[in-house]
């Protein structure tokens, strides 16, 4: 049995102007010790699908799924009380902005120990020992003293470490890191990513990394899932994805990286991600795709086999050239 198994997850928001589909039939499978990245541009629904797992979406969201199971619990039918037993303990999440995710009114020691008190039922002394241990683990110097520091007294990198310490407090089976390093400098980013991957290796914890930075993806994870406009358009092991992307979107995204540039002009993807009102018929990427033809514009594509990265495309690319195109 997989640690996290999601089948056909769809999230729609009820907005004043009608339903907006943020996540469109997404499947995610995560095993113990997995290292998965979900990449996509802003608005691709990568955060929303994970917030649905955590049960953190507002009441305006309609969540439907054929299956949404974590460690044997059915997340769809779980009561709020039962969910609270799991979230924060077995699944935990780190958010993008450490400064705004910490409570400014309490010192960080209190905030770390709170989790330990509620989920683990530890005594005062035990909590303190564990909190110091966690602070040391995430590389905060002088942990005893730092426990009584308030969030505003810490730098961005330190606050993010505190967030990680909180997330790790109950030894979660799954850690979801939503752009954990986007607000940080590269030197601090390197430290945080090393910390996360070390933890994943030593504790058999599964890690889902949500990011838009292809460099971070290449250096950190094993498996990559590419999302576009709420859909899972491709999923491959990281080295295969970078060597031979099968979806035109992935290909275009990789080509737009400045470090892969062959000339002063970078290849671009024309247009923008479709919004609520300009959702195209057929393939959602077709208006921006250089290979799109009439079929792409009228019929939604089916999913290709695993050998082709399970891409959602009529003409999956192999070594940069579309497949089956001549046949049709």
């Amino acid at each position: 049995m997989s640690l996290l198994e999601i089948r056909n997850l769809t999230v729609e928001f009820r907005t004043a102007s009608g339903l907006f589909r943020a996540v469109d039939s997404v499947d995610v499978t995560v095993e113990n010790g997995d290292l998965l990245a979900i990449v996509g541009e802003s608005g691709s629904g990568k955060s929303v699908s994970m917030l649905a797992v955590m049960g953190l979406l507002p009441w305006t969201a309609n969540i439907t799924a054929d299956k949404m199971e974590f460690d044997g619990h059915d997340l769809r039918s779980l009561s709020a009380k039962a969910r609270r037993q799991i979230v924060g303990k077995d699944i935990s999440m780190i958010f993008q902005e450490p400064m705004s995710s910490l409570n400014p009114c309490f010192n960080v020691g209190y905030q770390i120990k709170e989790t330990l008190r509620i989920h683990m039922g530890m005594g005062r002394r035990e909590r303190h020992t564990r909190a110091v241990e966690l602070m040391t683990q995430v590389g905060i110097p002088d942990p005893e003293k730092r426990l009584s520091a308030f969030p505003h007294q810490m730098s961005g990198g330190m606050s993010q470490r505190v967030m990680i310490a909180m997330a790790l407090a109950c030894k979660p089976k799954l850690l979801i890191a939503d752009e954990p390093t986007t607000a940080l400098d590269v030197t601090i980013q390197a430290q945080i990513l090393d910390l996360l991957t070390d933890l994943q290796e030593t504790t058999d914890m599964a890690l889902i990394l949500i990011t838009h930075d292809m460099g971070v993806v290449a250096e950190t994870v094993d498996r990559v899932m590419v999302q576009y406009a709420g859909q899972r358009v491709e999923e491959q092991m990281v080295d295969k994805l970078f060597a031979n992307p099968h979806h035109p979107y992935t290909t275009a995204l990789l080509a737009a990286l400045p470090e892969r540039a062959q000339s002063r002009h970078l290849p671009t993807i024309p247009g923008v991600v479709p919004g609520q009102f300009d959702r195209p018929q057929g393939c959602l990427f077709s208006p921006r795709c250089q290979f799109a033809d009439a079929r792409c514009k009228s019929q939604p594509p089916g999913r290709a086999g695993q050998e082709l990265g399970s891409v959602l495309c009529h003409y999956p690319l192999v070594d940069g050239a579309p497949l089956n195109k001549e046949a049709s």
Binding site: E41, S42, P141, S155, G156, G157, M158, D185, V186, T187, I188, Q189, A190, Q191, L193, D194, H212, D213, M214, G215, V216, V217, A218, E219, T220, V238, D239, F242, A243, A252, L253, L254, A256, L257, P258, E259, R260, A261, Q262, S263, R264, H265, L266, P267, T268, I269, V272
Partner: protein, 352 residues
């Protein structure tokens, strides 16, 4: 890449080399200090946000300033755009030395340097249509231009940055992030500046949009012969975009030189660490990262000697007591770009 493009590029590079253009902006030992604190009972202290930067900007070339947050990049941008006055040092634009009097109220001079900020939404007035936004600089700085002429120029500019005619009457919230950044660039260009300061212009944008804006900036530079001061923390963008690089640490440049030499043979350990920390989108490359322990020290309380010594793996006794100065390789010390300068007692050699 097509052969034609390659040829064009080579040609452009050759042209740049042949005609050694005169620098349009010369900065010598620029400093900007702030007094902070100093209440009834406490003494005030000085933050040396920018502590001695010398560089030149040349038409058609890009100087990139890189470093962690808090290293003084943005302070430098504010001093160059004359938003703030330098505490010490000399700034010269087209031969005019910028003093207190010259910067104040001298519209001609201010028009020569324009800036594009990181967050395009925060820097556009939500209640002004794009047309108004673009015409405003002309209205204030060039009162002799007629209303009709203003509108023509604004419409031309909209076309030049790749927006459409009908965008003229729209408001900032109706645009995507990339389009807003185009508007911000258009506004900066309305007064025909010679120098454009780009303060993290693509950091807030998605990858696919980032490349569009970078291409636009490249085109504009070629067409208008602009000098760019490009501030960024993303080294992969800098590598693609810049001609010269200045690496800053805690208010001081620690390494300066042409992009190729700085990136291929970094001499300062900090540059090397920054380069190795930048993630590269290539999973087959498993290089060893240099781990920098600790974070940037507080600029109010700088360490003795070299500011980088507490985080440096090559630091010696000398580094803890004496401050290194920028010295050159090859041609000897000088502030001419082309020299490769580094402020380090134990610079890295090629094989390190």
């Amino acid at each position: 890449m097509s052969q034609v493009l390659q040829n064009q590029m080579d040609k452009r590079q050759a042209e740049n080399k042949q005609v050694a253009k005169k620098p349009i902006l010369i900065a010598r030992d620029l400093k900007r200090h702030y007094e902070v604190g100093g209440g009834m009972f406490s003494k005030s202290s000085t933050v040396r946000a920018l502590d001695g930067a010398s560089f030149t900007l040349t038409p058609g070339r890009t100087l990139a300033v890189v470093g962690e947050s808090g290293c003084g990049k943005s302070t430098l941008a504010r001093v160059v755009t004359m938003i703030e006055q330098a505490t010490e040092g000399a700034l010269e634009i087209e031969g005019d030395a910028i003093g207190e009097k010259l910067a104040q109220g001298n519209k001609e001079l201010r028009a020569k340097v324009q800036i594009v900020f990181q967050d395009p939404y925060g820097s556009l007035n939500p209640r002004q249509s794009i047309g108004k936004t673009l015409m405003e600089p002309l209205l204030i700085n060039r009162p002799d231009i007629s209303a009709k002429e203003r509108e023509t120029r604004a419409r031309d500019m909209i076309a030049m940055v790749g927006l459409r005619e009908e965008h003229f009457d729209r408001y900032p919230h109706m645009f995507s992030g990339g389009q807003r950044q185009r508007i911000a660039v258009a506004r900066a260009l309305m007064l025909d500046p010679k120098i454009l300061v780009l303060d993290e212009p693509v950091s807030a944008l998605d990858l696919s949009i980032q490349s569009q804006i970078l291409n636009l900036l490249v085109d504009l530079q070629d067409r208008l012969d602009l000098a760019y001061l490009f501030i960024s923390h993303d080294l992969s963008v800098v590598r693609h975009f810049a001609d010269d690089v200045m690496v800053m640490y805690l208010g001081k440049p620690v390494e300066q030189g042409s992009m190729e030499t700085v990136f291929s043979q970094p001499r300062h350990p900090y540059t090397k660490a920054l380069l190795s920390a930048t993630p590269v989108a290539d999973p087959t490359r498993k290089s060893k990262r240099i781990k920098l322990s600790g974070e940037l020290p507080s600029p109010m309380n700088l360490p003795q000697g070299c500011a980088f010594n507490p985080r440096c793996w090559r630091a010696s006794e000398k580094c803890r007591s004496t401050r290194p100065v920028l010295t050159g390789a090859g041609d000897g010390a000088g502030t001419d770009l082309g020299d490769h300068l580094a402020a380090c007692f134990h610079p890295l050699e090629d094989e390190d």
